[in-house]
């Protein structure tokens, strides 16, 4: 009797081990899943396309000049704020704050810069359609750099004349303060704005040309800030080669489980797809309004600003021909879907860029996932979310996976500080 129980028990154990071993020989990902993983990996990132609106985009000297401007605090009304004050290289070019802090407090959260050269739209609401046009926005914002066009043009003439002229050609003489007031530009400040209006169109163009070239130089710098290779990317390479040892070295079981949820039930790839983990489109995910403020209408207002922006692709300051402006020409300009819609952030380096959402509404990735899980009604417009029904452990898995997307930038350290 005892012996028989023992034999049956042994048989059961052997069958279990056999079945388990048999399962273990199966590939861990199906062909379809591998195709999805490949599409998310950095190896799927195409070569950086030219920016036809910026003829200096790939000019090394312009990039060096742009780098100098990026880290220069003189480009602000109080002399304390540079682009890098908020776009800090060691935080994936964000600042750890809910709302950007320049000379005042901005209305939205500072955005990551790495990889934005691939995006047709800049800012949370896509109100700019190139990196150079984007770079000019904060310079003229009363709460960010707080300066104006003649102020910046003078700094270029005083501090960067040689460097500027070696790239963009001769620098006009701005010394006549009657023609070129110390502070003039199309900004909120009524006095500065009035001074700008009082200038002749010709003089305004002279100043705007310098201002535009500053933006194009900064963009030439920012174009070089591309994402670095991450553990996830190495894992996908190993998975495609079916190299299990290497797969296990790059990502642990929890991270893999998170990845499985990410491309599966958690629906993340609905917006966070492609090698940059963003589709660069605009989506309303029902993120709550900032307490005490009217709900942000996002893209609905952004697209209006885009169309009337003198620095857009079709504008006179752009180097692009109309045939290069398809994104702008065929942009959706109206409709309910734009209300309260924002651009999904790239998830590469997302662990470095807390807090999250367009006004830093969520302190942690767990709060973000809880929001996606509950899918509340939108404060304005209609949320695209549906409840996910993922539990606490699954949230932890997804967050563990997101940490494998940390890879900084592939740009060398010489690009990550003032030159």
């Amino acid at each position: 009797m005892k012996r028989i129980v023992l034999i049956v028990g042994l048989l059961l154990v052997m069958v279990t081990v056999g079945v388990a071993g048999w399962f273990a020989t199966f590939p861990r990902w199906t062909e379809e899943e591998l195709a999805i993983l490949r599409g998310l990996s950095i190896d799927a990132l195409p070569a950086l396309p030219k920016d036809p609106s910026n003829r200096y985009g790939d000019d090394l000297a312009a990039a060096r000049f742009g780098q100098a401007l990026f880290f220069d605090t003189r480009l602000s009304s109080n002399g304390e704020v540079s682009c890098a004050s908020c776009h800090q290289p060691d935080r994936s070019f964000t600042d750890g704050l809910a709302l950007g802090e320049g000379v005042g407090t901005a209305g939205r959260k500072t955005m990551n810069i790495i990889g934005t050269a691939y995006s047709p739209w800049q800012f949370w609401d896509g109100r700019k359609d190139s990196q150079w046009a984007q770079a000019l926005g904060p310079l003229e914002s009363a709460v960010e750099h707080g300066g104006d066009r003649t102020f910046y043009a003078r700094i270029i003439a005083q501090e960067y004349a040689d460097q500027y002229q070696s790239i963009f050609g001769s620098l006009p003489d701005l010394s006549d303060q009657d023609r070129f007031p110390l502070n003039a530009g199309p900004v909120d400040d009524p006095l500065v704005n009035a001074a700008w209006e009082a200038m002749t169109q010709e003089d305004r163009d002279i100043v705007t040309q310098i201002f535009v070239n500053m933006g194009k130089a900064i963009a030439a710098y920012e174009r070089r800030l591309l994402p670095g290779t991450t553990r996830f990317d190495l894992y996908v390479r190993a998975a495609i080669a079916n190299d299990r040892t290497e797969m296990d070295r790059q990502m642990n079981e929890q991270e893999v489980a998170g990845l499985r949820l990410f491309i599966g039930r958690a629906n993340c790839t609905q917006c966070h797809n492609g090698p940059l983990f963003t589709n660069n489109d605009f989506h309303n995910t029902g993120v709550p309004a900032v307490i005490g403020k009217a709900p942000d209408r996002g893209r609905a207002d952004g697209v209006t600003q885009l169309l009337s922006d003198e620095f857009n692709c079709l504008g006179r300051w752009s180097d692009a021909g109309a045939e290069d402006c398809d994104e702008l020409k065929f942009a959706i300009v109206e409709g309910e879907q734009l209300v309260g819609a924002f651009k999904p952030s790239s998830l590469r380096n997302i662990t470095l860029t807390a807090p999250y959402m367009h006004a830093g509404q969520f302190a942690s990735l767990d709060e973000v996932l809880m929001h996606y899980n509950h899918a509340p009604m939108a404060a304005v417009g209609h949320s695209e979310l549906v409840p996910l029904h993922i539990n606490r452990f699954e949230r932890e898995d997804i967050i563990a996976f997101l940490a494998t997307l940390e890879g900084g930038t592939s740009a060398g350290p010489e690009w990550l500080a003032a030159p």
């Binding site: 129980v5 199966f26 491309i263 599966g264 629906n267 609905q270 959706i332 699954e394």
Partner: protein
């Protein structure tokens, strides 16, 4: 209860059963992390599943049968997440090319409840019932619908094409 072999087999089967049921009941708690992919075939493909037997024909009669429409990407293939152009051919049911059609384009991803990321437009009549539609972009893999509304000679009709982006 005489035969010990029967007792052993029955108790083994019951034990396995109980363990399996326990595992299934614990599933919502432990999540999929301890499962082998083959045991949860649907997990990875959830978002990408398209309905079986989706009609992905690129030439179709319009809904009320007034026209026949066909589309082809200008470059021969449909690139993922890149703006590109299609050539859309509109003919009457009898094969005559429709020269003066006014065509409007919309579409989206039915499973995700969002529309197209761009507003494609007919920008040129190429002759012989062919129209150039510019500004199409499909930014993610999966099932997309593209609808053409055609108006010609006071007749309006529409047709919906399905395509699956890989």
């Amino acid at each position: 209860m005489k035969n010990p072999v029967v007792v052993a087999i029955i108790s083994a089967v019951v034990t396995v059963f109980v363990l399996l049921i326990l595992l299934v009941m614990l599933m919502p708690m432990i999540g999929p992390r301890f499962l082998h992919p083959m045991m949860m075939a649907s997990e990875g493909m959830h978002a990408q599943n398209q309905p079986q037997g989706l009609d992905t024909a690129t030439t179709k009669p319009s809904d009320a049968g007034n026209f026949v429409l066909g589309w082809a990407s200008e470059s021969g293939s449909v690139p993922l997440n890149q703006i590109h152009s299609w050539v859309v051919t509109v003919i009457m049911a009898d094969g005559t090319p429709v020269e003066d059609a006014i065509i409007v384009v919309d579409g989206g991803m039915p499973q995700h409840g969002h529309g197209l990321p761009t507003q494609p437009q007919v920008t040129q009549y190429l002759g012989n019932g062919q129209y150039l539609v510019e500004g199409l972009r499909f930014q993610m893999p999966g099932w997309w619908e593209v609808r053409f509304g055609v108006t010609s000679d006071n007749t309006t009709d529409s047709v919906t094409f399905n395509l699956v982006m890989e």
